[in-house]
Every structure is written in C-alpha cells, then in structure tokens.
Amino acid sequence: MQMLGEFKLPHFFNYPPYFTLQPVRDTREKQIQLWKELILDYCRTQKVFVIGLDEDFQLFSNPAIERSLSHESREAFLSALVLEGRAEWLDKGHRKCLILWHRIQDWADLILRFVKENGLEDSVMTVEEIRSGVESRGTELHGVDRTILMRALKLLEHKGKLAIFKGTSADDEGVKFSI
C-alpha cells in the first residue's frame, strides 16, 4: 500500500477516474464522499489546518499514475467540506481553506479537558502557552492553528468558561479560566 508521509493511501488513489470530476450524479456523489473523508483524515494525521488551492498539496496529485486534481475539482471537493461544516474559506476568492478535522466545538472540549487535566481551572495562561507550552506536548492542542484556537476560546468565553484579555504586546493575549 502506498504511503503519503505517515498516511496510508487507499487503493483507489491509483484509480485515474478518481482524479477527474465525474459528471454523472450518482458517481459524483460517491466520489465527493470519498474525497471529503480522505482530506479530513489526511489533515488530521498530518496536522494540516490550512489548504491553499494554488499550492502543491500532496494529497491532490498522484505522480505514480500522472494525475492530479484540477483547480475546479479541488474547489468542488473543498466546497463540499465547507457545506458540511468541516471547513471554512478564509478568503472570498476561495484560495485558502481552513480544515476543521475537529469541529470548533470539539476543540473547545479538548481545551476544557486540557485545563482539567492540568489543574488550571482558575489560572491564567497566554494563548501561545496553550498551543506550544510544556503542558500541551503530546496533546492535539500542540501546534494547533491560531485561528482555530481563538475561535474555540471565543466559543468558551461566550459560555462563560473563560475570559480573554489583551496582554502587554500585540500577540500576547491571555486567558483567565473560570471553569
């Protein structure tokens, strides 16, 4: 079986029609479904948070069969993810896509678990510490995309679980937990 980094590729990754957007409706629906799942799984294992349509994204081409997805197909599959709520366009021109292989709610739950496991219920932390501090190592929070983290924190702030405040410098935002 082929590998892409640590990701195991399925057999149909070598099937040429997989890389051509199918016109027949039933066939296309199946194709879209397979691509959506593949993208999410790959991004989760490889910790990819943003896909740029104009950049070379390894999952979108297979040099072994000399096929790669056209720009139109990429946009089609990512749009399907957006429709499902598992991705968001970061720009109007649909050039960059934020992949939510965990939903924002899931990230929020992960933050809560992280706080509880480390006994941080009433403490203060910088946002940066949450994603790159010692405590986060080994968890999924480590290296999480800043945009996603902020969205999850805002969601929790809205629920009254914490408060976000600005720090001394521009990107030195902090969080006061009150879980």
Partner: protein, 440 residues
C-alpha cells in the same frame, strides 16, 4: 418646319454638332422633349438629345427618329430672356421634370435676339438625370454670356472673361483618358437604361399572366382542402386518386401540399421516407447497426445523383418512419447527435460488450478510448463515443480526462465500501483491478 421657329444646327457626318469657335459643351441630356405650351404651331420635338453649350442649347433627334422629318435645331442662349425656377409640387413628382425659359422672338415666331415678342419654351426631361444639376449649369451658361466676349478665335488667349467663364463651364469631351472612360460608361449606362425600360414593358405583360396562374392554383388548393375536410368513411377511391394526382401536380409546380398537417405528410415525403428506409439497409449493416444522420445524408444524395434532397427533407422522411412499419428508427442522443439504427438493435447488448471490453486486464490498467471501442464494436468512432457516454450515464463507466486524452474505465466507485475505504472484497471487479494494476 422647325426652321421657322428654331434655326437648324449644323452636324458632322457622324451626327456630332459643329461647334463655333470658343463654344464648349457643358452638359448632355438624353430623352428630352422640346415643346412650347403656348404656341400650338411650335414643333413638338420628342425624345431628343439636348446639348448645352456655353453659347447655345442644341436639340438633336435621337437615332430612332427618321432624320428626314426632324433636323437638329438650336436656341442661342443670347435669346433667352428668363429661366423659370422649377416649382416642386405634388403634381411634379409624378410627371417628368420640366424646365421652362422665355425667349425673345420675331413677330413670326422665329427665335431671335432682337425680337420684340416672347415665347415660353419647355424642356421635358424624360430620361433619368439630375435635373437640378443641369438647371444649375443652364443658369451658369446663360449668365456666363460667353457669346458676348467671343472675339478671340483661339483657345490660347490670355485670361479674357469669356475664356474664364467657358473654362469654368467647360466639360471637355475627350475620348481618351479617364474622362473618356467615364464618358463611355455614362453612354453605356444611358443605353442600358433605355433597353431596361423596354424590357420592363414585356415583364409587365408576363406578370399579369402569372397572376392568373396563381389565382387558379389557389382555387385548386382550396378545393383540395375543402375536399379532405368533407371526407366521410366511405371515400370514393377514384376521388382519392385524382386528389393525389392533383397534389403531385401542385408539388411539381412548386406548391406544397395543403393537406400536410392532416394526413401522414405530403406524398413526396412519404415516398421519400420509404425509399430511404430501403436504401439505408446496406450502409447500416456495414456500419455495424448504427449510422450518423449526416453520413446517411451524404450517401443518399450521392446515390441519387440528381434531385438531391435537403437536410430538412431527410429529417422529415425519418420522422415519418414511426408512422409506418419500418425496421429502422431515428434516435437522438443526449449530446444532440442523431443516428439511424435498427429497431431490433438493443443498447443492453452493446453495453454488455462494452463491459467485457473494459474488464480486460489492459483496459483495467489504462482504460479505453473511443477509437478502441470503435474497433471492438465495429462502428464509427463518433458512434462509439456516443455509446461510451451512454454507458457512463448508466453508471457502467467512469471518465478519465488527462493530457493523455479522454478515456473510460470500468466504474469502481460502487465497489468501494463507504465505511472502510481500505476494504477489498475477494473475487470482485475491484480486486481484479488491483491485481491487474499491480502486475504492471
């Protein structure tokens, strides 16, 4: 005769006017009548050539007039007292334009400079010409009074007033050079114009006869229409026969049958339809059971040689097949391509052939193109493509578009489990494909 009123103009042997020294021609008009509405005794000079010079207004009889009766005459511009302006009225639109001027005459009526009486002369311009332009030149020539200063005999004088004016007025008449060509053109045009006018007289006669024919045909048509509407269950065979004959005859004269909408179509199309069905059998066999409509059009017309049919005729003939019991049919694909195929032809049979073709190890690896399918199915590549697209529509095939071209593979998507993308069933087409691909 005319000599009593108008002096005769001298002509050369070939009928050209002899001009005085310093006299230059300014304008020529054909088909001009010269009359006097006041004086009945004044000669009625019909359809002549009018020549305006710097000194005179000449009237020459046209060739058709016998030269004995009328000779060329002229009116010296010096005798003209007044040129009337043309009034444009509704009446004048329907008549030939007229130019009136007043000349001084002797008591006997002869045109003379020092005459005490006056006479109004009318020019009736019957030919096609620019009246205003001529009138302008006429004015210029008359006011120019070239005859007053015509002392100098030679053209090469210093700038005398008459020379100036005559130069201004002169339209030199060379027979060579571009102007010569232009003049010839003008003359040719004028003669064509005349012969056209004559021809139109004949055409008018023809048109009136044709009108009668059309009226007759219309009456017959109405009779046919009313006849078919009044048909009872017990139709007289004889009547039907004559009616068909009439329809045929009408068609041959170029009038479409009026009963097209009610009946199964004009006889012409019915016959064509049957003929086409017979003709189509052999090419259809050769083409493997399906042939493009355009190809049939070419073959059929080529076979006919003459009396070619139009594309519309072909289409109508094919659409009539459903009304008769004919073993061929017209079929339109989603892509818009129209083909003729046998009624017994079944798509499913073709699809099963395609499936077996595309399940072969080579085809599993690389897929098939339209030409590959064409060879196996024994049809034209364009037809094969239609079949492949139809098979794709049914979910049998998937397309693969790449720089290598447009190819089709067997559709494996249904074989992939939605719950486990890595699962491969034993002995399925999916596992066949995997082994075919991995053995390359």
């Amino acid at each position: 005769m005319a000599g009593n009123f108008l002096p005769a103009a001298k002509l050369t042997a070939s009928g050209r006017p002899v001009l005085d020294s310093g006299e230059v021609e300014c304008s020529l008009l054909s088909t001009v009548d010269l009359i006097s509405e006041d004086l009945s005794a004044f000669p009625h000079l019909k359809s002549g050539l009018l020549i305006l010079t710097t000194h005179r207004l000449l009237w020459l009889p046209s060739d058709s007039n016998t030269p004995n009766i009328t000779t060329a005459v002229y009116i010296p511009l010096s005798t003209i007292q007044h040129i009337f302006s043309t009034k444009k009225s509704i009446k004048s639109m329907f008549h030939s334009p007229r130019i009136r001027f007043q000349v001084s005459t002797t008591p006997e009526g002869q045109v003379s400079e020092k005459g005490l009486k006056s006479l109004v002369i009318t020019l009736v311009l019957r030919g096609k010409m620019d009246t205003d332009s001529f009138l302008g030149k006429f004015w210029d020539a008359w006011r120019g009074q070239a005859w007053e200063a015509s002392g100098s005999a030679t053209e090469s004088g210093s700038g005398s007033r008459s020379r100036e004016s005559s130069e201004l007025l002169a339209v030199k008449m060379p027979v060579v050079g571009v102007s010569g060509i232009l003049r010839k053109e003008q003359e040719m045009w004028e003669s064509t114009d005349k012969s056209l006018q004559d021809a139109f007289q004949d055409l008018n006669a023809l048109m009136s006869k044709a009108k009668e024919m059309v009226v007759l045909a219309e009456r017959m048509r109405l009779k046919l229409l009313s006849g078919s509407n009044n048909q009872t269950s017990g139709t007289n065979d004889e009547d039907m026969g004559t009616k068909e004959e009439m329809q045929d005859w009408l068609l041959s004269v170029g009038i479409a049958s009026p009963v097209t909408k009610e009946s199964a179509g004009a006889l012409y199309h019915q016959q064509l339809s049957r003929q086409l069905a017979d003709f189509v059998k052999k090419p259809l066999e050769r083409a493997g059971g399906m042939i493009n409509l355009i190809d049939i059009y070419c073959l059929f017309n080529r076979a006919r040689g003459t009396e070619l049919i139009s594309p519309d005729d072909l289409r109508q003939a094919c659409s009539l097949w459903e009304k008769f019991d004919i073993p061929v049919m017209l079929r339109k694909f989603d892509s818009g391509v129209m083909v003729i195929q046998n009624k017994t032809h079944s798509d499913d049979e073709v699809f099963s052939r395609i499936r077996s073709l595309v399940s072969k190890p080579d085809a599993l690896r690389t897929g098939i193109s339209a030409s590959d399918a064409a060879m196996t199915l024994g049809v034209a590549p364009a037809m094969a493509k239609e079949y492949l697209l139809a098979a794709e529509g049914k979910g049998l095939l998937c397309r693969d578009v790449s720089p290598d071209g447009f190819r089709f593979h067997i559709n494996l998507f249904p074989e992939i489990s939605p719950d486990d993308r890595y699962l491969v069933k034993d002995h399925g087409i999916y596992s066949m494909w995997i082994s075919a691909v991995s053995s390359s």
